[in-house]
Amino acid sequence: MRLKRCAQGISLLVILLFACAFILDDPAVLLAGTTLLAGLCGLGYSFDRRFRQAVASVRLERSLERAVVRTGSTVRVATAITLQVPSHIQVTVSEILPAGVVVQDGKTAASSGTSPSFETYRFAYRITPLVHGTMHFSGITLVAQDHFFEDRVVLSAEPFRGPALSVQPRGLFEPTGRGLTSETREIEKMAVLSGLGVRALREYYVGDDLRRIDWKLTAKHNKLFIREYAGVVNPPPLIVVDLPWRGASYPADAFARMVAAVAGMVEHSTKMYQHSTVLLISGPNILHFMVEEKDLQRSISALREWMHPVERTAHFYRMADRSDLRSRVRALEIQSGRTQDPSTQKFLGLVKKQYLRSLGVHQTHAFNAQVGRTLSPLTVDEVYVFSLVAGDSSHLVQLIRQAKAMKLRVHVRTPQLPDPVSSPVSPGRLGADTVEAFA
């Protein structure tokens, strides 16, 4: 139990009164000091009694969305804590999270008022494990305070503990000897000529195209029937949203504009094509994939849930793939051929050797493989990438390369138009077809 400022002041007053009583040998001063001390002890005992009552009344239920996840994925946790709040005490309950997880969003603590009541606190939050292993929710912390005292207890006994979250490791690189898209062409794909499908049959009206008469039906019913063919629309675009990292600063106003732009794009896609497909990433981490969602409300709810800066488990920094390394080797060879200085030639040779050594052991990053597996089953012509382009944009380059390899048109949307010459996000550097600023 900790004394708050008021109780500390009273304690100091008691000590002063005792010192004065001893020096002056005055029972009147002693009476003042002793009664103050008795009052303080009484208040402390009363606080402790009510605090124990509150702790004894705690009931907890905690559930996890999934019990087994992989590193970097997001799990929803729901906790309900019920307790009796005693009079004149403010109680704060907070979850004790396992080490190695970060809270993506939601509340993990709540405070009561000072009036006596039977309170139920419901915490709904999402966590992302950053390391693998078995993680235990080790309980809750209960803090109580009044004007004089504050006490804190960790409730980590059996009823308040658990469940365990098993986190499986996720490698940074794909295993060698495995194709990126070897398992991705197994789903049913929309037929290219689906526009020739018959949507409905109706009776013939004067002026209808005679080529559309269904002769079999006409012969069967002895009157003319017309086929109405299904309309053909372009496939909806894939919307990729690159969320900023929580560990770095980002322009909040630009992010708000990006949220509005993404919401507008999703709304347009749903109205125009009857569904929208959204891929949420943050750096080289795929967070959520919403495939052909027809319900606009659900799409907007998912965006509201995810559109905020998130923790990243993996980072790219000037990530180069094999083609980059090869082009650098070629550039070094050209540069080495032009120079006459032996020391420069020696240096360029050393750098080239390092690049060739890297090429020999180069592995495919898991993000590239995931993007490949995500894009390949989709029927899309265009990809819209929304990003603040804050910091390194290697992951965007990798994503756009994957999309371009699948003959998709890629449009990047950024907060402001980049300088076509010097900007690292110019269309040429990113490999996108267009780079535009969103409104």
Partner: protein
Amino acid sequence: MNLSLRKDDGFFLLLAAGVLLFTGAAQPPSWYLYLLLLALPGIVLYVTRTWNDRVFYILCAGQPLVIALAAAQVWAGLFAVWMLAGIVLAALGMLEPGGDLPAYAAFCGATLVIATGIDASAHVLLPLLITGGLTAVFVLVFTVREYRFRKQYRGAPP
């Protein structure tokens, strides 16, 4: 105009009535001193109405009056202690129905015992040693209880 009387004001009026009764009955030579010392908690009570830590200021302001009354008559000082405690508990809202009235009664009983002991003793040293010893025992018992309480809820490591 709202003329309803708050409980802390009521206890202060009781304290004022007691002090007036005491000065009237005992007629001490420096009777005005008690009235001046009575005014101090009254002013603090009024000025600190919206302050968070007002109980500390009220207690500080009341101690000179307690000492002055107890110097003249221990039981008068004890009465001032009871009224001050009433003011503090009322200011904290702890004397509302269903509140800590039994705790207030227990405090009055305990301070009665303390005052009796001090009244019986001619010097300070012995009561001071007894108070220190009892406080040490209280802290020791409290610490052991708290240790057992925390151990009960901490549980075994997973």
